[in-house]
Amino acid sequence: MKRRKAAVSGIADAPLDTRSQERARLDRIPSLAPDRLQTYDASADNVGRFLRLLGERITRPLAVSLTACVHCGLCADSCHYFLARPDDPTMTPVYKADQIRRIFKRHLDWTGRVVPWWVHAGSPQNDEDLNRLKNIVFGTCSACRRCTLNCPMGVDTGLLVRFTRGLLTEVGIVPEGVFNVSRDQWETGNQMAVTEEEYLETLQWMEDELRTEFGTPEVDIPVDRPDCDVLYTINPREVKFDPRSIANAARVFFVAGEKWTLPKWGWDQTNFGLFSGDDKLGAYVARNVYEAAERLRAKRIVISECGHGYRSTRWEGYNWAGYDQKVPTESVVVTLQRYLREGRIRVDPARNPDPVTFHDSCNIARSGDLVEEPRWVLRRVVTDFREMHPNRRENLCCTGGGGLLSMAEYRPLRLEVAKIKAEQLKATGAKLVCTMCHNCIDGLTDVIKHYKLEMKVVQVLDLVSNALVIPE
């Protein structure tokens, strides 16, 4: 075996920046409450609180993942961080997971409690140690779970990273970006602080455009209409930066003759609780959506194209919120597939002649259930579909997952390790990379710009809308 010289990234030493937290305290924002958003207090016993929460929150699956690792190192090559930095042993999933594992061993596992040095058990001594842990779990892992599926023991490192992030969130030792987005989602119900006025105005604007396009007032973007078949929930990014994706959905719903609505409150299907590890935030945001469906007596919740939004709203949110699922909850891609199957919409693939490849979102393919559905749709709306390799559940992260796009301090490392993704994209020879995730759009766009690839990122709905045959 080739001997390799270690070259550690140094990211673990990034300082803790709490300026936004201090501003929030000065502004006395309402969400700063014991059962909501936490800020960093340098005079508090943060290590003690961290350890207390560790003992209180650990679940059986977590405990097993913390004890089952045999240090075989087989997970290393599944991680894009390690693939891009093979000389840096701190980039392996096992090393990252060991940072919380050693604390667990020291405080909860018997061998580590009696002879800590024997099993590398240890405890954080101060806030600097917690900050170092923060930089590892937030800055060197996108929680894509690729290592989880490649672990012979079934150790869920993605779950361990999220759990650790959640503990750090409780003591305010988090990247600035994580605090800011969490604050916005607590304060406004959506992670981009879109006001109700801005939201309704954007929907009105899109509705006006569609009416001009179709030449009829029958096409609309309804808000808070009760008793609909579909409650459509979206990503705030669509309101802020990509309103045409809402128009695309409205166009398809209109042609399909769907009875649908957007809710006035509870429209944000994204959930920063998934990234910050904060189950309370996760429960709050998810519950907003479920209660909107209940309030409007909607028969189905449809989630626009968003990886973590889909995972949060379809799978994790019900459990975080302690809310039994009452109505079917599906991705808009599944809705599109149904429309095509039932002949409710017709498409002309010749309108999408460019070669298209598909990027599977980690949260949808590995932590969710949608792998073949987007491919089924794409094969009907484009003329040249080609797979990237690896694909489906083995696909590599867009490198912006796990909330990393909001953490500016880790951007250089994120873009450095993105060379693996860039090579994967380039090898397809495609002009368009399609993904069903808004987070992946930004992640992939960053990769494409940084590595100067001649590609554009699109979503399934964009291609369907473009191929849509409007009936006379």
């Binding site: 190192g73 459990n319 699922q325 079917p328 393919a365």
Partner: protein, 234 residues
């Protein structure tokens, strides 16, 4: 046979086995003391199929990229664990069915398997020492566990012929190591086999419920009722 060897093969082993059983029972109680959640979503797949697939993963090197791309690594894993099974079986054959080791083919078969496992153990030990990634994460327990396994296998190769009339020491070392293992294992990483069913169960249950495991099982809903052992990322 000396009294010492007889005791090592019988009373000492039984005592050590009992100790291990007690510690494992405590360990299981410890695991079950951690709380678990309830699944509140409707299934898109089959939990039972996910659990089965996940548990069988160990026998499906094609199912994971990590083993699919490293057939030699997987072969080492198989050889090493076959050696473990053969060595453990030996600890029961020698005291309770010694006639089996009168058959030369059986003796040679066991020696080949255990010997191959010993070689694999050595390769893995060298890998752990040379690879910076593994060095960084390796604990004293990792090194000692592997070193002890290599010694155990080496002693096993010598003990299998069970020729105590010629020399008792190989058999005595083998059974001495076995007794030590039975006591040490519950506190070391070697007891990973105790956790394997749990970790694979939880992963299979969560991803099976979501239709993500096994591939192609989506839509076949056989959601298990909520059970006290919890599941997945809940």
């Amino acid at each position: 046979m000396s009294k010492l060897l007889s005791a090592l093969e019988n009373e000492v082993q039984i005592g050590a086995l009992l100790f291990m059983t007690v510690v494992y029972t405590l360990r299981l109680i410890w695991i079950f003391r951690f709380k678990s959640g309830r699944e509140r979503t409707t299934a898109a797949g089959s939990e039972a199929a996910g659990i089965s697939y996940s548990l069988m993963n160990v026998a499906m090197p094609w199912a994971m990229e990590s083993t699919r791309k490293r057939p030699w690594f997987y072969a080492q894993f198989v050889i090493f664990h076959l050696g473990v099974v053969a060595a453990i079986t030996t600890t029961f054959i020698i005291p309770y069915a010694p006639a089996l080791f009168k058959v030369k083919v059986v003796v040679r078969l066991f020696q080949v398997i255990i010997g191959a496992a010993c070689l694999v153990g050595l390769l893995r030990f060298i890998r752990r020492l040379r690879n910076p990634t593994l060095r960084l994460i390796s604990t004293a327990d990792d090194y000692l566990s592997l070193a002890l396994m290599i010694l155990f296998f080496a002693a096993g190769v010598l003990a299998v012929p069970n020729e105590y009339r010629k020399a008792e020491w190989p058999i005595a070392i083998f059974f001495g190591l076995t007794a030590f293992f039975l006591i040490y294992v519950p506190f070391s990483k070697i007891c990973h086999y105790l956790y394997y069913p749990f970790s694979r169960y939880f992963l299979g249950r969560t991803l099976g419920h979501r239709g993500a495991m096994p591939p192609g099982m989506k839509g076949k809903r056989t959601c298990l009722p909520s059970s006290p052992d919890g599941g997945g990322s809940r």
